[in-house]
Amino acid sequence: MRPEQILVPTPSGLCSKAGGFHIDPTRPVDKALITHGHSDHARAGHGHVLATQETLDIMRLRYGEKFAGSTQAIGYGETLKLGDVTVSYHPAGHVLGSAQIAVERKGLRIVASGDYKDVADPTCAPFELVPCDVFITEATFGLPVFRHHDAEGEIRKLLHSVAVFPERAHLVGAYSLGKAQRVMALLRAAGYDKTIYLHGAMEKITAYYQERGIDLGPVELVKGAKKAELAGTITICPPTAMSDLWSRRFPDPVLAFASGWMRVRARARQRGVTLPLVISDHADWDGLTKTISATGCSEVWVTHGEEEALVHWAHMQGLKAKPLAIVGYGDEEEHEAEIPLPPRSGGEGGEKQE
């Protein structure tokens, strides 16, 4: 049994001929197994979708009732026989409802982990390690410069800034599914109990998180608030909104951005951020390498991201490794995170000489 007899990478995603399905296909297919609700992984228009209840609900919120021909919910740890293979879903720790999908045939197990992180997140089930023969991993932050550290420290930085600038508003750019809610939950865990304001784009998903019992404290749409009221407050918004006219309703806003990309200064500067917050829903370099080792796999497939470094690392560990070069993953965050360059004022000039 070769792994390719279970799953083959195709340009439109991983395909299982033996099971008759695709995982996170980037084009409409008959039968799709979806790892999580981010739109680069969960697209509308498939014939049949198998996913966790949360992922199905999120897809419904985003694409409407008719996002797929038919759907089937599967719980974490549940096993299902599809054709000649067995599949099971396991928490990926990425966002609410996110799953790794284990595909097994005749004692050979491949885990397609989707997007994942191996650190605590109060808004979703923690990552579960699934021992396997082939581990399919992302490599969004697959360079040893990406070490995300503790998100609590970043929240502390944000609260410190709010205390230093009580007359300014703080805008936190965050991906509207997962990151936004995690930032809110982290703020609550840090003892921040004031109203957190929301951009309209965050409303539905945030309400859904609350429905699922995730306590985010008092949350309000920013739409009705007056400019003066917003001094000293925190508003969560899509990163793109920070450079919109929309942001003019805030008094001298501090532009924070919660993303793993904020680890690299050039990336933060490129986006005109004044308060970068290194908070990521993806595994960092240490997370990726430790997870790969811990699965006990002998082979690694890298779906997307900085695959070159991770493949090099895997080879150094004596593992078989290859990049899959699946096109289309990682696009959504890029898209939502795109902020046009605002003009930056330069540094202080030297005192002019007479």
Binding site: R147, D150, T274, E348
Partner: protein, 598 residues
């Protein structure tokens, strides 16, 4: 160090000046001595220690990382210090701190919450305080984290200032092991001497002043007598101590500067409120003398920016034998006549001061103002009163090397305009050529550091202008290396020959440069290496209107005249070379300094 690093990190992204001040002020409030003092020193450029070279940092990281992974990372990040800061793996590998990575550590047991970081309790934030949250209630992360092994900024600075070169790499590695990413980044920027954070010394001092709601100028005034880590300064700012007094018997006092006068400025001013003096074409200095604790006289000469230049002018120091501080102009005097700036330049250019040099270029101080005398500091009293004291001071000093810069008498602005136009008749006499313009000083103006509004104006003389003919052109350097951008020009002599009178390589626009360059290439009559001779006869050639600051006799030039600070004012395509100026015009200018417009 981590806390200082956080500040630098934040400052690097914050564009607003006032917001930067707030961030720095908050840091000063939250951070103890001596760390904050060293931070102030780092931001004002007052720290000096042996810098580490990039090669050393590369060698350190090479010991810890795989070369391929380093290359990929460096390529991605683009900055060496930052790449190393992010990639650095402490040795030996400790368990990962904080909430990261713990999910995998306990395989299958991921319900265990991650070990919290040793973080300060956030409950000490005051959220109920409304918009006026008290900054003093912000927790002091570094102090609360003091059980962490990372060095304080003070430890880093003090260690670096005593460390031998051989110990540097190992010490830096030890620090990198215990600092976080931002801390490592700031450390590497600091030790490699590349801490550029968009904060001027003035801004940092302004933030310090905000700590005690003081005027930043008060700090400027104190600054030359202060040293890192500035504990006395912070004690005073926080109301815990007296205002620091300089223990330096001959301290520098930050210079007061003037605004350039603009059209119409005079209309709004009453001549009766002002005094005027000549602005001499030398270098502005401060000559200070005072007694040390043993009663010995200490005398020093400072540049306008506070650099101690005493060593370059040992001939002047013995004349500073009365306690006081004179603001004046350093000039070269020969037989009682002020020499041109070019002559002074010749002395300034010499590295070693020899007796011969001193004899040939004797230094002289022409006094404008008195900032202190034996009774103490005079800066808070008005200029008119300081001037009166200066006159008494200089008279009592009675030294041939120090004289008083005379006031320019005027009752109306027209009289001042006339004096400025003709300093020789206006009172400058034989030294008129060394007059750069006039200074206008408000009688009541205290001596304030920097360039306060509405107190002092400088009013330079109009430049002198002649029409000259382009004779030779030479290629420029750098960006201009493909252009002929250095021009030698001449005027007609008594034999109707053009004689070179100067060389200019600026004053024109890029467009004009292109035009001149094209003219030169089309009208070259001879080439001498990088130099082209261009057509210059009575009917064909290019007339340049040349502006300059002064003229002097020169034996080095065939014309017998040298120009100061010549530049191209205008291109006179309209003017045939025969109508260019004649040497006799320049000779007249040399004798009479009445400026004219061409």
């Amino acid at each position: 160090m981590n806390r200082f690093a956080e500040l630098l990190d934040r400052l690097a992204y914050e564009p607003g000046r006032n917001n930067k001040i707030k961030l720095i002020a908050a840091y000063f409030r939250e951070t103890e001595d001596p760390d904050r003092g060293y931070a102030l020193a780092a931001m004002t450029g007052a720290l000096s220690f042996r810098n580490a070279k990039a090669g050393m940092i590369r060698a350190l990281i090479a010991e810890r990382t795989d070369p391929a992974l380093f290359a990929l990372s460096y390529d991605y990040v683009g900055d060496l210090s930052e790449t190393v800061a992010l990639m650095w793996t402490p040795s030996p590998l400790p368990p990962r701190s904080g909430g990261e990575g713990s999910g995998v550590g306990g395989v299958g047991d991921s319900k265990e919450p991650p070990t919290p970081n040793p973080s300060p309790p956030l409950t000490s934030f005051v959220w109920g305080g409304g918009a006026q949250a008290d900054l003093f209630d912000i927790p002091k992360p570094e102090r609360l984290l003091r059980n962490d092994p990372s060095p304080t900024l003070a430890e880093v600075v003090e260690t670096l200032s005593t460390l031998g070169k051989a110990q540097l790499p190992a010490q830096i590695a030890r620090w990198l092991d215990v600092l976080d990413e931002t801390g490592r980044w700031a450390l590497l920027k600091l030790v490699t001497g590349s801490l550029r954070i968009g904060v001027s010394a003035r801004l940092a001092k302004t933030a310090a002043a905000a700590l005690g709601a003081k005027d930043p100028d008060e700090i400027e005034v104190l600054w030359p007598g202060l040293e890192p880590p500035y504990t006395e300064l912070f004690a005073w700012l926080e109301g815990r101590g007296d205002k620091p007094v300089s223990r330096d018997p001959a301290p520098f006092r930050p210079a007061m500067l003037a605004h350039a006068i603009e059209d119409g400025d005079l209309d709004a001013l009453d001549p009766a409120d002002f005094m005027a003096e000549w602005k001499w074409d030398g270098i502005r200095v401060q000559a200070v003398a005072g007694r040390d604790e043993h009663g010995a006289m200490v005398s020093r000469l400072y540049s306008r920016t506070g650099e101690d230049i005493s060593k370059s002018f040992p001939d002047l120091l013995p004349s500073l034998r009365r306690p006081g501080a004179i603001d004046g102009e350093l000039l070269i005097l020969r037989e009682g006549r002020v020499q041109s700036f070019n002559v002074l330049q010749q002395r300034l250019n010499r590295k070693t001061v020899t007796p011969k040099l001193i004899q040939e270029f004797p230094a002289h101080l022409r006094a404008y103002d008195l900032l202190a005398d034996e009774t103490g500091d005079l800066r808070e009293i008005g200029f008119a009163e300081r001037r009166a004291r200066l006159e008494r001071f200089v008279a009592a000093l009675d030294d041939p090397r120090i004289d008083l810069s005379p006031l320019v008498a005027f009752a109306t602005w027209d009289e001042l305009i006339a004096a400025r136009a003709n300093p020789g008749d206006g009172g400058a006499g034989d030294d008129a050529e060394a007059v750069e313009g006039v200074m206008l000083k408000r009688r009541t103006a205290p001596y304030v550091p920097g360039r306060p509004k509405g107190q002092w104006w400088k009013w330079k003389r109009d430049p002198m202008v002649v029409d000259a003919v382009l004779m030779y052109a030479q290629r420029g350097h750098g960006k201009r290396s493909s252009f002929y951008s250095d021009y030698t020009f001449g005027v007609w002599n008594g034999d109707d020959e053009l004689v070179p009178v100067g060389k200019a390589y600026f004053g024109f626009t890029d467009e004009e440069l292109t035009e001149i360059d094209r003219f030169i290439r089309r009208n070259t009559v001879a080439k001498f290496g990088p130099v082209r001779e261009v057509t210059h006869d009575a009917d064909t050639g290019l007339v340049l209107e040349v502006a300059f600051e002064g003229l002097q006799q020169s034996t080095r030039h065939k014309s017998g005249i040298a120009m100061r600070f010549p530049r191209i004012n205008r291109l006179r395509w309209d003017k045939p070379p025969r109508e260019a100026d004649r040497l006799e015009t320049l000779e007249k200018m040399l004798n009479s300094v009445i400026p004219r417009r061409g």
